[in-house]
């Protein structure tokens, strides 16, 4: 049994426009993927692809105007409630945790680091303050923050970006979750700090047998820190598989286009042809969501997307997959 199984998730946003008409944004359109214990999945996509939204769904944090139109999520065999209800017992915070973006603004500015780390444990059942305190020191040590005992007393604004991100990692792992979701964990960090933070994250996740989902738009992070990757476009996962295979085969035209946009690729192969405009979630085309931008689009692309198996764990949603060698 997989640790996590997302099946055909459809989420719409309903809002009123300036002329009082209802507009529906189809933010997630049939997202499906599975995650085994101990795996690290990279969720890649551009703005509006739906990566953060998927994370919110996993954490049970969807609120109106978001509406779950179809689909379900199973975690450790149990179905997860997707909408945020007060009193709703979700594994959020205990078995599934989030390491959010922008560390400086994600920490509570009015509480010391130590207090926040202890608070998180108490909220999920740890009643012994001494034990929580010891665990906080242990976690700070694990994320390689020097002098953890002193650091417990620090205020968030006293930390550098890299340190704050590491504290967030400590906070995310302190309750020994089964699944950690890291949302753009290195935004705003310097290159040298980014490498260190990711190293720490990967090491801790692997050592503790956790699964992780890293949400990022940086292909380099996916290439070197993830086992599997899922490429998202307009709320759909258009290609999913082991990292080596997806990079190697680049079956879906969008995957090809992403990789072709990296400067390294341009240096070797020259500039690729121009890209179209970002998808309009209020007005998605029928059939394949990518067809308006796809150089290989044909008549068959107007029909519903298939899911093609390309090998062990490697799936692509395209009518005309064309492995790129």
């Amino acid at each position: 049994m997989s640790l996590l199984s997302v099946e055909d998730l459809h989420v719409h946003f309903i809002a009123r426009g300036i002329n009082n008409q209802l507009r529906t944004a189809k933010a997630l359109n049939g997202v499906s993927f599975t995650l085994e214990p101990g795996q690290v999945l990279g969720l890649v996509g551009e703005t509006g692809a739906g990566k953060s939204l998927t994370a919110l769904a996993l954490l049970g944090l969807l609120r109106p105007p978001a509406k779950v139109v179809a689909g379900k999520i199973q975690f450790e065999g149990q179905e997860l409630g997707l909408l945020d209800h007060p009193g709703h017992r979700s594994p959020r915070g205990k078995s599934i945790t989030l390491i959010p973006q922008s560390p400086k603004t994600s920490l509570d500015p009015t509480a010391r680091i130590g207090d926040q780390l202890i608070r998180i444990q108490r909220e999920h059942g740890q009643t012994d303050t001494a034990k929580a305190h010891a665990r906080a020191i242990e976690m700070l040590g694990q994320v390689q923050i020097p002098d953890p005992v002193q650091r417990l007393k620090a205020w968030p604004h006293e930390l550098s970006g890299g340190m704050a991100q590491r504290v967030l990692i400590a906070a995310g792992l302190i309750n020994s979750p089964r699944l950690v979701i890291a949302d753009e964990p290195t935004t705003g960090l310097d290159l040298t700090v980014q490498a260190e933070v990711l190293d720490i994250f990967k090491r801790l996740v692997t050592a503790n047998g956790m699964s992780a989902i890293i949400i990022t738009h940086d292909l380099g992070i996916v290439a070197h820190y993830c086992d599997r990757m899922a490429v998202m476009f307009a709320g759909t996962i258009i290609e999913e598989g082991p990292v080596n295979q997806v990079f190697g085969a680049q079956t879906h035209p969008y995957t090809q286009s992403l990789i072709a946009s990296t400067p390294k690729h341009i240096a070797q192969h020259g500039f690729a042809s121009a890209v179209g405009s970002p998808p309009n979630l209020y007005d998605l085309p029928s059939g394949c969501v990518y067809k308006d931008r796809c150089p290989k689009a044909q008549a068959v692309c107007d029909t519903r997307l298939p899911t093609l198996d390309l090998g062990p764990g490697h799936r692509v949603r395209c009518h005309l997959p064309n492995p790129y060698s």
Partner: protein, 291 residues
């Protein structure tokens, strides 16, 4: 990121959309427009001449010929209340124009150039804050002769530094924004940076302040009249009417003061709601439309 939604299918769609996003704005606008309508149409809709005195029907209770009753001089309260809105707008609008005419350039220059002008403005504001404005207004109006014009000028002048401060705050924020840096980088001289780039953007934030200042203008002119400075009876100005009516409250003729009081209160409320609503609408840019 698509362009704005298509044109509404029903003529009510846009106002309804607006009402949804800021009911405060719509209510405020409604009140202000109502009184503006009264002011413009006063000679037509008022049942009587406001200064026509019916000596034998003094202090009649509401009902019958006089819908709001009659006052101590036998004048129809309703007609006087309706005409009173002319004075309210007649003071607030010109005072508002003076305020913008002086306050806008002042705030713009003070915010952009800084220096002695900025210092002078800030010190003036300090003085105004320490000084009860009523007393100041009282003194000046009493000294310059109690006419409509002097009231308008005094109120406009008193309002200017406050409006200038709001404009200045907007300008200060804008001055450090990237597009202003870009405007300088492109080669704009200072005056163009101020006029073309900063001003149109500063106006937006300052506009919401305008109705608030108008509300204050209406209130203070009524207050001055109530104290006995400025416009006096038989001119149908609300403050003067309340002053006269105050004497009769004790003897039970409540209508003489109540109706002008209600009108004053409602119009000031309307301006405040309008200002509040404008702030709502302008601040989170197009929230709800989605991108």
């Amino acid at each position: 990121m698509s362009a704005e939604a298509a044109s509404p299918s029903h003529w009510l769609a846009y106002p309804l959309g607006l009402a949804r996003r800021s009911p405060t704005f719509v209510v405020g606008l409604g009140i202000v427009l109502f009184f503006l309508g009264l002011a413009l149409l006063a000679p037509v809709i008022a049942p009587f001449n406001p200064t026509q005195s019916f000596s034998y029907e003094v202090l009649q209770a509401p009902g019958g010929r006089f819908f709001f009753g009659s006052d101590g001089n036998g004048m129809d309260v309703l007609s006087r209340v309706i005409h009173g809105s002319r004075y309210a707008f007649g003071i607030a609008v010109p005072a508002g124009l003076i305020m913008v005419g002086i306050g806008m350039p002042l705030g713009l220059l003070a915010g952009y150039k800084g220096g002695w002008l900025d210092e002078a403005l800030l010190r003036t504001l300090d003085v105004l804050r320490a000084f009860p404005t009523i007393i100041l207004a009282l003194a000046v109006v009493a000294a310059t002769g109690q006419s409509l014009v002097s009231m308008v000028v005094v109120i406009g002048l008193l309002d200017s530094p406050i409006f200038a401060r709001v404009v200045r705050a907007e300008v200060l924020t804008l001055r450090s924004s990237t597009f202003v840096k870009a405007a300088i980088a492109v080669g704009n001289p200072s005056w163009r940076v101020m006029w073309v780039h900063i001003l149109p953007n500063a106006i937006l934030g300052a506009t919401a302040q305008l109705p608030m200042r108008m509300a204050w203008a209406v209130r203070i002119s009524a207050t001055l009249a109530f104290i006995g400075v400025g416009i006096q009876a038989p001119t149908p100005e609300w403050g003067a009417m309340i002053r006269q009516g105050a004497e009769y409250v004790i003897t039970g003729e409540w209508w003489v003061a109540l109706f002008p009081g209600l009108a004053l209160m409602t119009l000031v409320l309307g301006f405040n709601l309008l200002g509040d609503g404008l702030t709502d609408l302008l601040d989170p840019k197009r929230r709800g439309v989605g991108k």
